[in-house]
């Protein structure tokens, strides 16, 4: 018995050690969201979906005093779960002065009525028991990471994936083949998928109310900007088929008259698929946003 226990303790320790090591090297290459739960809040915050995750690099906004806490339209449409996650992430810094950039787009304010559960966020990332601002973040690894932890070592140390890197600021850097043909292939696939999705999408009162509640809470402490990030014209057309921007904006304006709207445009921008801005264009877009915030240059 003693020998068995002795050997078991040795092996158990080894098992625990390799797991601790894996957790210690966990960073921005093994998972698209991990660093959002590992980073510290900086008072100012970027909120929204993948457009903002890809397109806004905090390094170039407000001298880096901002965190990118945007996820994707599946995990972070405007909803109770996302609002709670934002408040939990900000913690004490919720009440600190700063800026809140909220990327608003049709997909985060609508629901897909063809789904059995239109509120898809219910069984996704932000509805799980995960704590924020911890590195290593064991609650994330236990409750959300669905692979053996050895894969973290492979992805981070032994054979890192060079196509994606979630920075410690929350910006997701994506490096893909930017040949015209590759872009077109991705764009065709993406537009097709969004076209199908648009047919069953309707603007959701629940999502609008969640956004209003969020703005209202943040307004007490922060300078809130509703930001429209640029996408390709074809996608804009698809979005317009079910989303009346003016009417949604006027609902927000009526309920919260001090809300500032800001539309970013840039002819020089390049997208990887017509939706997400290519990393080389991110600096330009981020700086443009930063300059307008600093100048207080809102559209309305």
């Amino acid at each position: 018995m003693k020998t068995f226990i002795k050997y078991s303790v040795v092996f158990l320790s080894l098992i625990l050690m390799v797991h601790f090591y894996a957790a210690s090297v966990a960073d921005g290459k093994f998972d698209d969201n991990y660093n959002k739960f590992a980073m510290e809040p900086k008072g100012s915050i970027i909120i929204g979906s993948s457009r903002a995750t890809h397109g806004l690099n905090p390094e170039f906004i407000l001298e880096g005093r901002i965190s990118n806490f945007a996820f994707d339209a599946f995990s972070s449409p405007f909803c109770k779960e996302y609002n709670n996650a934002i408040y939990s992430f900000l913690g004490d810094s919720l009440k600190a002065k700063g800026v809140a950039v909220i990327d608003v787009n049709p997909w985060t304010l609508s629901v897909d009525t063809s789904l059995a559960e239109p509120l898809r966020e219910k069984d996704r990332l932000l509805n799980k028991e995960i704590s924020f601002s911890q590195s290593p973040n064991y609650s994330f690894l236990f409750n959300n990471y669905n692979h053996g932890w050895g894969k973290i070592i492979i992805d981070e140390v032994l054979s890192p994936d060079s196509s994606k890197h979630l920075h410690e600021t929350g910006w997701l850097e994506v490096s893909l083949d930017m040949k015209e043909s590759a872009i077109n292939e991705r764009k065709t696939g993406l537009l097709g998928a969004y076209q199908r999705k648009a047919k069953n999408s309707v603007v959701s009162e629940y999502r609008i109310n969640s956004l209003l509640e969020l703005i209202d809470t943040l307004n007490d402490y922060k300078n809130v900007f509703i930001v429209k990030l640029p996408v390709c014209p074809e996608l804009l057309e698809i979005e317009a088929s079910f989303f009346n921007e003016d009417s949604v904006y006027s609902i927000i304006k009526n309920r919260l008259p001090t809300t500032k709207f800001l539309e970013l445009k840039a002819k020089e921008l390049k997208w990887i698929d017509g939706h997400h801005v290519f990393k080389n264009s991110v600096e330009l877009l981020s700086q443009r946003l930063s300059n307008r915030i600093i100048k207080g240059d809102a559209d309305q």
């Binding site: 018995m1 020998t3 068995f4 078991s8 158990l12 098992i15 390799v18 236990f142 669905n146 692979h147 053996g148 932890w149 050895g150 894969k151 070592i153 492979i154």
Partner: protein
Amino acid sequence: MLFNSVEFFVFIILCFLAYWFVFKTKKSQNLFLLAISYFFYGWWDWRFLFLILASSLLDFFIGLKISKTPDKPKRRWLLVLSLFFNLGALALFKYYDFFISSLAEAIPALDTDGLLLNVMLPVGISFYTFQTLSYSIDVYKGQIKAESNLVSFAAFVCFFPQLVAGPIERAKDLLPQFEKNRVFKSKDAYEGLQLILWGLFKKSVIADNVSIYADKIFHDYQHYDSGTLLLGAVLFSSQIYCDFSGYSDIAIGTSKLFGFKLSRNFNFPYFSKNITEFWKKWHMSLTNWFRDYIYIPLGGSRGSSLVLVRNIFIVFFISGIWHGANWTYILWGTLNGVLFIPITLYNKHFNKSKLLTAKIFNIPKIVFTFLMVSILWVFFRADSIGMAFGYVDGLVDFTGFTPVSYLKNIYGFITWNKCQYIFPLLLVLYSFEYVNRNNEFGLDFKLKPILKLFLSTFIFLLWFVYANYPSEDFIYFQF
């Protein structure tokens, strides 16, 4: 609490230490096992503890009563009472809604909305019901003595390693183990740990990775060609085998840590040379149960060929129903019976031909049996009969078929979905199992300890890197 969860890992370490270091007497160990087994079961849904408790109490007292009653008709009535309550609970929880829905489909004019119960299926009910049933029947037949210790009996019914998905233990094998003092044996404990590791490898590395791609093909089967559908069927075969036998390995391994020996549930079934051999090696505890309590009482292979055919058919039909309240399971069971019958009849009436049993045919026979079993699994996996036939229809649709296009399509699916990595893993699984096919389990190498340690470390590393943890339970929990 799933066997492949962190909770179970912590649970098992704490229980192991308490069991051997705190509870040193047989009596206290049994009481402790009972408590942790109820805790383990209650982790899913504590309300169903009352059901298992009621089933245990009922069979305990009926068993005692049967053993003390010399009057045969009275004994029979007591057995009927046990059967009624056990099968009644099973019927109510598992089959009632299915029966009502089927009735509504058959007679559309019938309004059955108010008749549906929509009750949740208690985890493992089919397993522990069969275990307690076998106890009552064995006591009735005088094959075993009635258990007089309630704690031992209740622990036998709900022994946590095998409570929710077997192996279905017989009272004559498991109950006596609660009655004797258990001594810690290092050899058993090491073997137990190896079994747990091998089970985790099968479940988390093979089944839970393969399931991603098998599900993909099954969900969208209308859009795939014959080659890809065959790949889907073969992948699901590996999934269900590794899911279920992986659970059994962990169950047997865990029991060994506590000084118990459970019966073997799988004996490398995919190396079978025909379907009858397959059924002797797949889910053995259930097959043996059916053999002893249904097939043999019906007359077994004695009597005419017609009786034999009927008996086989009944057993496979019931086996299908046992697996689930859905016509797909019933059809799957029945089709297995249909394939089983000719071989059994051949073996009954003819001597085995030397040519057919020649070793040279072993590999083709193994491959053929595996493919046949894989196609039958389609009926098990499909959501409906229509889907099953649609899938099989696509599987045998060789329009525009050339061997190159067939392989090209399979290759196309693999590269598009980036699932190349699962094939080396499957190779490790089946080569380890093939090498050890005459031993107890796939990691049961008869080598020097240092080499065994090396191979175990290799499997651990594969688990450490490739384990996948989807939210689904083990497949057989639903039965």
